[in-house]
């Protein structure tokens, strides 16, 4: 057989292999049985937040290497005004790292009272060293998020909120709205730091927000249900060692606003 024929044959074989892997990636989840998820007893946090928890805004973006939009699937939109609250979930999903045996995700249960307009959930995974802070993908392939729409009458202001300044060094220290232990950087019990490193977009897509564990790569859910749950999953090898929930609302909330958040670890492997 000629040298060129052999090159062609080898490339065809490699192409077939790659095609099979892409097909496995796209359709393979249905072929592999998954263990029934088991909820670890006890909530990691179970806390009610009021509108005083929204400490940031009005602003059009959320932290990323470059500012990210807030509406799932959208870039930063200048005509929007969002108010942001960060909650430490005291949990982290665990992906397929061979060093761990407790593979699982974080189930988050929410209950809104008097929600006006739209509330969007995003997640951040805090990391160490030069690993960029993880977050769910904002736009493009496998972007995800969870949106709840309420019909309460909007409030007039958000007195506790001030806009977060865009950082030139891609690093943000934010206040969390629940009381937690001081983090690994020795910061105060109420602050956490996001560090994003080049290239732009790194860290995005390592965490996912999924309405069901049947779709671990996440999806976008829009619902009018004022109570419900979703999962935070990870598919990379480092989901971060602490998980922060970002709750963004698109208008001032009324005095009666309340959000109960409960996080649990769900073992699935």
């Amino acid at each position: 057989m000629e040298f060129r024929t052999r090159v062609g044959l080898a490339l065809v074989l490699l192409g077939c292999f790659l095609g099979a892997m892409v097909a496995l990636d796209a359709f393979g989840e249905a072929f592999f049985p998954q263990n029934a998820p088991v909820v670890t007893p006890g909530a990691l946090i179970d806390q009610v937040f009021t509108r005083a928890g929204f400490q940031y805004g009005p602003q059009t973006w959320r932290p990323g290497y470059n500012p990210l939009g807030i509406d799932p699937g959208q870039d930063v939109l200048d005509n929007e005004t969002w108010y942001l609250m960060y909650i430490d979930l005291n949990a982290t999903p665990v992906s397929g790292d061979p060093n761990v045996r407790k593979i699982g995700s974080v189930r988050l249960t929410y209950n809104f009272t008097d929600l006006a307009g739209r509330a969007v959930f995003h997640v951040y995974g805090l990391t160490t060293g030069t690993h960029p802070t993880r977050t769910n993908r904002q736009v493009g392939y496998n972007h995800c998020g969870f949106v709840v729409t309420g019909n309460a009458t909007a409030g007039t202001s958000m007195p506790a909120a001030t806009p977060l300044a865009i950082s030139g060094i891609h690093q943000y220290t934010v206040a969390i709205s629940n009381n937690q232990q001081a983090d690994y950087n020795g910061l105060t019990a109420t602050t956490r730091t996001f560090s994003f490193y080049p290239p732009a977009g790194s860290g995005e897509g390592a965490l996912h927000i999924a309405s069901s564990l049947l779709n671990r790569r996440g999806d976008v859910t829009e619902t009018p249900d004022q109570g419900g749950s979703f999962y935070v999953t990870a598919t990379g090898n480092d989901p971060g060692n602490d998980l922060l929930l970002l709750v963004a609302v698109d208008r001032p909330q009324p005095d009666g606003f309340g959000l109960r958040v409960r996080s649990e670890f769900v073992r699935s492997g």
Partner: protein, 181 residues
Amino acid sequence: MAIKKPYFSLYEIALLSLCAALIVVLNTTFTLPLNVPGHTGIYWVVPVIIGVGIVKKPGAGTYIGFVSGILATLFGLNTLHILNLFIYLAMGGMIDLVGLLFFYRLDHPAAGFIAGAAGNLAKMVVNYTLQTFLGIPAVFIIIGIGTASISHFIFGGLGGIIAALVLHRLLKAGVISRDES
């Protein structure tokens, strides 16, 4: 009594062992912050292809894989410990096979590309198989396997082209010849 000639000469053993050690050195020295699966293939496959391309004997790649696997295990290069050996053996064995397929003309960029890509993909397949064997659910492994395959293919192929160019220059300079034996 006739003395049985060893399969690899002393020169070949020394060369292949140096190539194996070079893999470990490259793996330790270079930490590219690319965060793309398989990107290490761009330098990992180079010593294997050069070793196979110079020695031109079946088993040369497997020997490099075996020695580098032992070294990587001793130096604790990644998380699979002694099982690393299988990953390195898979890459070496696959490059051996590709070398045979192309009559050891690995100085040709196309052959180098295929050898590098196939070697890097073999490494990926064995790595994922071992992780599944160790208890990681298959569903976690297949998530993103398409992207991982493509990145292993590209980076391994690029490494293969680099190796082919190095081999070509060595041939052109007369350091090695097409028919050493």
